[in-house]
Symmetry: none
Subunit: 249 residues, 2 copies
Amino acid sequence: MCSLCAGPHGPPGRVPHYERVEKVRLLVVDDDPPIADLVATVARYEGWDAVTANTGEEAVALAGEFRPDIVVLDLMLPDVDGFGVLDRLRRSGTMVPVVFLTARDGVADRVAGLTRGGDDYLIKPFAVEELMARLRTVLRRSAGPAFQRSVLRVADLTMDEDTREVRRGDRLLTLTPTEYEVLRFLMRKSPTVMTKAQILDHVWEYGFGGRSNVVELVVSRLRRKLDDTGAPLIHTVRGFGYVVRQAAE
Amino acid sequence: MCSLCAGPHGPPGRVPHYERVEKVRLLVVDDDPPIADLVATVARYEGWDAVTANTGEEAVALAGEFRPDIVVLDLMLPDVDGFGVLDRLRRSGTMVPVVFLTARDGVADRVAGLTRGGDDYLIKPFAVEELMARLRTVLRRSAGPAFQRSVLRVADLTMDEDTREVRRGDRLLTLTPTEYEVLRFLMRKSPTVMTKAQILDHVWEYGFGGRSNVVELVVSRLRRKLDDTGAPLIHTVRGFGYVVRQAAE
DNA sequence: TGGGAGCTGTCGAGAAGCTGTCGGACAACT
DNA sequence: AGTTGTCCGACAGCTTCTCGACAGCTCCCA
């Protein structure tokens, strides 16, 4: 398998909890092609249909024919700006939910207010897994009130993505944001082994320079919190990476 | 699950008394599409059926075929004005309750007279949670004189949405309007963790620019009032947001 | 119309908690 | 026994949170 590939290498076949019969259709709008492609690639890996647009014009046109279920929209576009695109989407009657991307220094102020309809936003540079998590949440909520809580479970380890409660058996764990994200990633991919590079690429912001042993460190901290009771669930695959699963063999 | 329920994620026990089987049908009439959509979207996230109209004509026509249970009506419309629409609705025999929207400087006085029938009104710009709260109240009242009180409860913290009484155990708390709204929002969403952006976006008026630590501040004030006795109920999820729930273990 | 009371948001300092770097101990494979 | 990879304690820098102080504002009442 490709060690450079950003994507997880589990066979696409792991059906997530928010399963639906049809593929989720995602439109990614960003004038920076690498970013747009990054998002689209990750989404496809989750089994979604994804298309990208690099301008506002293109976005509006594509939305019309592709009919996405959800949109990722950069607010800094060369032609029409993000808000313009949003207007035009809405005016054409689409109630499609949107997750916005914005630069930290940029329009962050004007963005306030966007979580209201159920839309959400993320500040660049973001972590891919965080974006995917938000997309899933927004999708789940837009599906109506009957949606299920999203709870990840591996053996006696559970993670409730709404309450952010993580439990090993009965014991409630207190995780820091980074620990939480790493664990969520590993649990989602379980029982597939993830390389350290993959973990780094998905959980840390793209562009993160850390050529270090951060991943090992966070895993180490996680272990202390969740593996000090009972059989270990985080396993090292020497020379390769980590995996969360019930002790095999 | 209850179509009027605060949120999609109610664990058993949080289903309000004014439960009904069918989805609430809401008609939103506002000539400003973003506002109309905002309201419609929020309502849909609560599990309601919502449609929007941007003119008086459209509104009257839609009301006929959609048969809403409740109407949100902007009084400043380009063609027929809000009062005209109301007249025509009433004359066609509908007793559908209405919540009016009006500009601050506008016709507030004349509106006051209209709220006697159980209708209500709100001044623009409003906060979405406040609007939803009023809609729920009006609906409950229109369900008949024997309507049940709506009381939110988390552990020994109770909030009576009719009397606005908030109690921690026996102790009656005196909350300011903002504190009340923030607490209501958190209680409604409990035990889901809300980000500060979500709180800001739902509880403050749309268009509020406050890029500050208002939310933190209000939470801090709330804590002093309700968490100084007994176990804390408002919890900080560092790097993420706040949640109201009984301390888990 | 003026005065007072209470509410709200800004500022900022201090506290608390999180994160990544370094480096040495340790373990696993050859 | 050497080599490579992993684990994790300690620490410093940084981010985030908390909350006192204060000033503008609104609302109410005389």
